[in-house]
């Protein structure tokens, strides 16, 4: 019984990261209809940037996170304005090819610059254990989960309650009406991509402080983010959060009771089951897109 609670706690911790990294993916898909295969690489770059900021530049964790968010947000903006802009409104396939190419480019550029060694980011708190009843976590993990929650909440508030968020939703529901209302839709798309990139990058840096990161981390992260998004429903905000937590829990329980070596298989089982029984995901947005 004690072990079960521990597994659940571990699952919720990694689930929070899955949610955060999937959120950027689902946002970009929902609003822009771009299936971003470079999402994991943007996550990886967040980790690399975080490492550069803290280890090389010597900034503290929070200053490093702020710098990472700013730089990665700018990167996302530029990727949209100079690359994705060219394939806008041409269906999903051109953007898939484009982002696959981008992911290869980013991985190899990072490989060239920082090499293959694992990169460790100094966290803001020590790895001291925290006892919550029978469950043991570290201070750093508790902090990281709280940071995930804050970032998810912040993204939610931006989308629901700001002028930019309203413009995003308007563009998502009817781009022509958005233009006629005076919304610069090109800017909305670039802001959305920047926001999605920042969410991915912040997840990359937070997780890099718990484990470590390396330049080829992107592939697996992309796959898991896709699992979460398919489970939760493409384009659904709540779906990304619930899907992320479910995947984290499923993996922790599988790893705990069945085998740790085959944990990554659970995501694919989930995808197959979702596609068979609930192809639009748990939180379908099909109605909203009508």
């Amino acid at each position: 019984m004690d072990m079960l609670l521990q597994f659940i706690a571990n699952g919720l911790v990694s689930g929070a990261f899955y949610a955060l990294s999937a959120l950027g993916l689902t946002l970009i898909f929902g609003l822009m209809r771009v299936v971003n295969f470079a999402h994991g690489e943007l996550y990886m770059l967040g980790g690399v940037m975080g490492w550069l900021a803290t280890t090389v530049l010597g900034l503290n964790f929070f200053a490093g996170l702020a710098l990472t968010l700013a730089v990665m947000g700018a990167c996302g903006w530029l990727v949209d304005r100079f690359l994705i802009e060219r394939v806008r409104d041409q269906g999903e396939e051109p953007s898939i090819l484009l982002t696959i190419g981008l992911s290869i480019f980013l991985t190899n550029t990072a490989l060239l610059l920082v090499g293959t060694a694992p990169l460790t980011i100094e966290g803001p708190l020590p790895n001291k254990p925290v006892f919550l009843g029978p469950v043991v976590l570290t201070e750093l993990r508790v902090f990281a989960v709280a940071a995930c929650a804050v970032l998810i909440l912040a993204a939610h508030l931006v989308i629901r309650h700001t002028r930019l968020g309203r413009a995003m939703r308007a563009t998502f529901q009817d781009p022509m009406a958005a233009r006629l209302a005076g919304i610069n839709t090109a800017r909305v798309y670039a802001s959305t991509f920047a926001l999605g990139t920042m969410l991915a990058a912040s997840a990359g840096m937070l997780l890099g402080s718990i484990y470590s990161t390396h330049v080829s981390a992107g592939g697996l992260v992309s796959l898991k983010a896709f699992v979460v998004v398919i489970l939760g429903g493409m384009g659904s905000f709540a779906g990304a959060i619930v899907g992320g937590l479910l995947l984290g829990l499923a993996e922790a329980l599988w790893g705990g009771y069945i085998s740790t070596g085959t944990v990554d298989i659970i995501g694919f089982i989930i995808v197959i089951l979702t596609l068979i029984f609930k192809p639009y995901g748990l939180f379908s947005t099909q109605v909203e897109r009508a």
Binding site: R163, R166, A167, R169, A170, Q173, D174, M176, A177, A178, R179, L180, A181, G182, I183, N184, E288, A290
Partner: protein, 242 residues
């Protein structure tokens, strides 16, 4: 232009627009005076909506010019055209279905930065369209066709335009609802807003407009006072099958 309208607000000259390689407009000339209501009438596919889309910046003209209040606005982006005072209420309404009536209205005033001013305008919209007030929390997608049309017009007015481009406001509405919509158009015009309306139902159009241009396969074939057109059944049946 009739002599009674001293100031021309919008002048379109030799306007050409193409969709890809297919030319839709081949040299449109028209002018709208301040305070007028002018109709564009003509058969389906004649290019009436294309004219409005070119004026509002949704489409880039391949040739010709659009002069608004003395400024050349040819090829300006849609958001700059709204900012200049032209609002376009598109065909099929295009309200944001998964947003509330209130949110639709607030977004209509997207370029207004003062919150207080936006609230005032929302209040005015509710005053003008009491039915929207009753439904302000409802998702726009759940409104009836007529209510959606009212919302689309109210949203376009949120930018407080000097000119309203209105595309097929009676499309898909019951005759009673269409009458109501045109009553609103008349009232808006009475408040000094210049209106350029595209309408397939010629009688509706001529009842609300003082003048009309007849659009035929991408060109203007006739321009006349509504009264003249209404008294000329031959013109009406020849051009419009009315």
């Amino acid at each position: 232009m009739t002599a009674s309208n001293p100031k021309i607000l919008l002048r379109v000259s030799d306007l050409h627009v193409a969709y890809g390689k297919i030319a839709a407009l081949h040299g449109i000339d028209l002018a709208v005076g301040e305070g007028e209501t002018v109709a564009l009438i003509g058969a389906n596919g004649a290019g009436k909506s294309t004219i409005l889309r070119a004026i509002s910046g949704l489409l880039k003209p391949s040739r010709g010019s659009i002069v608004w209040n003395g400024d050349d606005i040819t090829g300006r982006s849609a958001e700059k055209v709204v900012a200049a005072g032209i609002a376009h209420c598109p065909e099929e309404r295009h309200v944001w279905p998964a947003m509330t009536v209130r949110e639709n209205l607030i977004l209509g005033a997207f370029l207004v930065s003062s919150r207080q001013q936006v609230e005032e305008r929302v209040g005015m919209a509710f005053h003008r369209f009491p039915r929207l007030r009753e439904r302000y929390k409802q998702m726009a997608g759940t409104l009836s066709g007529g209510e959606q049309q009212m919302l689309a017009i109210a949203r376009a007015l949120m930018s407080e335009p000097r000119m309203l481009l209105l595309d097929e406001p009676s499309l898909g509405l019951s005759p009673k609802m269409a009458d109501e919509v045109f009553e609103v158009v008349r009232e808006i015009n009475g408040h000094g807003v210049t209106v350029l309306v595209v309408e397939q139902n010629v009688h509706n159009a001529l009842a609300v407009a003082s003048r009309a241009y007849v659009v035929e396969t991408g060109t203007i074939s006739t321009e006349a006072d509504s009264a003249t057109l209404l008294e000329d059944p031959e013109v009406l049946s020849a051009y419009l099958g009315a």
